[in-house]
């Protein structure tokens, strides 16, 4: 299947990548699924967006997407952030697939930095954009050494870091990209999602795929897989909690963004997951600032 552009100059294969490349990426994905949490090297291609801007996620999505898929792209939980828009438009153009902002109807969700609040279902694929796939990178910069550490399950250093946090701050001071152990074997970087989202990865019904384009790695968490955030028995893993509910939809127990209202310290907290927030408001939930927001949106 080939997509022709209007000017007739350039032609692209369906979903941009040629079939050979897609097969190569699919093999990497299958290997990743077979060895949950293991980083599979793949021959990442140059994409028409910069490295570090989601090229890994884009390649994974391009390799798994079909004409009948419905794609949702979020960045920071929102469908409308510029990079999400850009990637969504890219696939709308090169794969002519249906796009959506609705978490429930999407068959593929590509994300940067968040996992949707709504529980994902069987059959859905969540594709993460990953900048640095190596959880040990900032403890040991050498690839040759970290690969050996993974191979031999030498993860003591990871706990040394957590130990240092507690010794220094009285609690673990890692707030995002919080390392997890997958299926009792590989320590994995969940990409820079806030640790708030870590529990959603555990025993998820959806398939989770991770693509790091610049670093040329793919890894995966198959559905119903054990994903445990590293911690100590006496300092168990905890997620962030917010005192206030969302100012627009009054939701509790969701991740909130802080929005600065003026230069006098005024601020509000609203859902980072825009789709979730909108659905709740449609369902009649009202936060204390919801009226104002409706007015300005006109």
């Amino acid at each position: 299947m080939t997509i022709h552009t209007d000017d007739g100059l350039a032609t692209y294969n369906f979903a941009y990548l040629d079939e050979q490349t897609k097969r190569m990426i699919r093999r990497a994905i299958l290997k990743g699924i077979a060895i949950p949490g293991y980083q599979v090297p793949f021959a990442s291609r140059e994409m028409p967006m910069p490295y570090g801007w989601g090229t890994g996620g884009v390649q994974v999505t391009a390799a798994v997407i079909g004409p009948d898929d419905v794609l949702k792209v979020i960045d920071q939980g929102a469908d409308d952030t510029t990079n999400a828009v850009s990637i969504r438009n890219f696939f709308a153009k090169v794969a002519e697939v249906e796009t959506t902002t609705d978490t429930a109807t999407a068959s593929i969700i590509q994300t940067r930095h968040r996992i949707p609040e709504e529980k994902l279902k069987e059959g859905q694929i969540l594709v993460y954009q990953v900048p640095i796939p190596e959880p040990l990178r900032f403890l040991e910069p050498r690839e040759t050494e970290t690969r050996k550490m993974h191979a031999l399950s030498e993860y003591g250093l990871m706990h040394v870091k957590l130990y240092e946090d507690i010794a220094k701050n009285g609690h673990i001071a890692t707030t995002y990209a919080y390392p997890v152990k997958v299926e009792g074997r590989y320590v994995m970087d969940p990409s820079p999602t806030p640790k708030f989202d870590n529990p959603k990865m555990h025993m998820s019904d959806a398939l989770q795929l991770f693509g790091a384009g610049r670093e040329k790695r793919i890894y995966a968490i198959p559905p119903h897989t054990d994903v445990v955030s590293l911690d100590f028995e006496d300092y168990p893993f905890e997620v962030q909690t917010f005192v206030e509910p969302c100012a627009l939809c009054a939701a509790h127990g969701v991740y909130l963004d802080e929005v600065i209202l003026d230069d006098k310290g005024g601020r509000m907290f609203v859902c980072s997951d825009t789709d979730h927030c909108e659905k709740r408001r449609e369902g009649g939930h009202r936060g204390h600032l919801a009226g104002d927001a409706r007015e300005t949106a006109q």
Binding site: A10, Y12, N13, D18, P41, F42, A43, S44, R45, E46, M47, P50, Y51, G52, W53, D75, Q76, G77, A78, D80, T81, T82, N83, A84, V85, S86, N89, R112, H113, R114, P131, R142, E143, T144, N169, G170, A173, T175, Y176, A177, P192, P194, K195, F196, R214, K216, Q240, A247, L256, D257, E258, V259, L261, V270, S272, D292, A293, E295, T296, A297
Partner: protein
């Protein structure tokens, strides 16, 4: 008041319109033609072809125009185009001994068969701005002579006859690696390493090469030979049973000759650092040769003491398309993670303040601080 970020799509569209406008500049000034760029900014095209890894002067010119003269952006455009190209096969290694040379110098011999040829070089020009160039002055036709078609022997071949320099060497593996098709893994073989260096960022390699000269992994280099000229690209067609020439490309080759004391495995002899890039770019080819030699430290049993010898460090950071993408990605929204850090810092500050308060409470003799 709070406005949900809904304008993303329109904002992007408008930004790109503005970009197109700024790229064109003042419409009363004639638009640059690709021919003008290819002909008059030829070295910019060479760099874009070389680091973009596509030998196509017109596309390079187009990329430079589209990128408003930002060469790394132009390289990126060319690379993104390159990945979509189907791969027919691999050409035969180019034979630089058979090069039709336009420039050829050796720093190791005063004179040598084939002679020293300066060619079109900036060397020995006095770097004085030339006001005449602001206009469109006629330029004198260059001196030329008929090429006698005899190949110009390479300095490395002259040294090799006496066994003074190591051989070209054979690839460590059966097949030559392809950086763009197989996942990069360390340690690398020299073939893939040279590919990475050849498309590596000129500035980065220049700085690293320079560092080796200043004592960070000193390797006593001599510029054995630098040659610039055209070589045939040949392709072996199995169906035909012979190779066919696809065309000619212009390349710059640099062979650095380095002292080597010998090791338990090899006798004392000169070793080589190798640089080969598309187009005319001596600076890049020389820097590449210095880096190549420095990166052979492990192979030659030398101590790794400096950044330029560290394969993982050099190769992981030499690609400017990767580097610029990741550095610039910092401008993408990170507010979800920032929120998490904000929360943590606030909490830690509160704990800190609480600790301080309880300390000062217990110390009742302390006078109240002014509020």
């Amino acid at each position: 008041m709070y406005v949900a970020v809904k304008g993303g799509e329109t904002a992007i569209r408008n930004a790109h319109r503005l970009l197109a406008n700024r790229r064109r500049g003042d419409p009363s000034v004639p638009s640059l033609t690709l021919e003008q760029i290819a002909e008059q900014l030829a070295l910019a095209c060479d760099r874009v072809m070389s680091e973009g890894s596509v030998y196509d002067r017109d596309l390079a010119a187009l990329a430079i125009k589209q990128a408003r003269g930002d060469l790394i952006e132009a390289i990126f455009l060319l690379r993104a185009y390159r990945t979509t190209l189907p791969r027919f096969g691999y050409s035969e290694p180019v034979d630089t001994a058979a090069m039709q040379v336009e420039r050829r110098i050796s720093a190791t011999y005063k004179d040598l068969p084939g002679g020293q040829m300066l060619g079109p070089t900036f060397d020995y020009t006095h770097r004085l701005l030339d006001p005449a160039l602001a206009g469109d002055e006629e330029v004198e036709a260059p001196e030329s002579h008929e090429s006698d078609e005899t190949p110009v022997v390479r300095v490395s071949d002259i040294l090799a006859r006496e066994g003074l320099i190591e051989n070209d060497g054979v690839s460590e593996s059966e097949e030559i690696g392809d950086l763009t098709r197989t996942p990069m893994e360390f340690p690398m073989n020299r073939d893939t390493r040279l590919q990475a260096l050849s498309r590596g960022d000129e500035g980065f390699l220049l700085a690293l090469g320079y560092s080796t000269q200043r004592g960070y992994a000193r390797s006593h280099p001599f510029a054995g030979e630098i040659r610039i000229g055209e070589v045939d690209v040949e392709f072996d067609v199995p169906e035909l049973g012979f190779t066919v020439t696809l065309g000619r490309i212009r390349v710059t080759e640099c062979q650095m000759v380095n002292q080597f004391q010998g090791s338990s495995k090899a006798p004392p002899q000169f070793t080589r650092g190798y640089g080969l890039v598309f187009g005319q770019s001596e600076r890049k080819a020389m820097a590449m040769a210095l880096c190549d030699r420095a990166l052979r430290a492990t192979e030659l049993g030398e101590d790794i003491v400096a950044a330029a010898q560290d394969e993982e460090f050099v190769i992981s950071h030499s690609d400017n398309v990767q580097a610029t993408g990741f550095v610039e990605h910092l401008k993408l929204p990170h507010y979800v993670d920032f929120q998490a850090e904000l929360d943590l810092v606030r909490r830690m500050r509160a704990e800190h303040a609480a600790r301080r308060d309880s300390d000062s409470d217990s110390d009742s003799a302390m006078p109240e601080a002014a509020e």
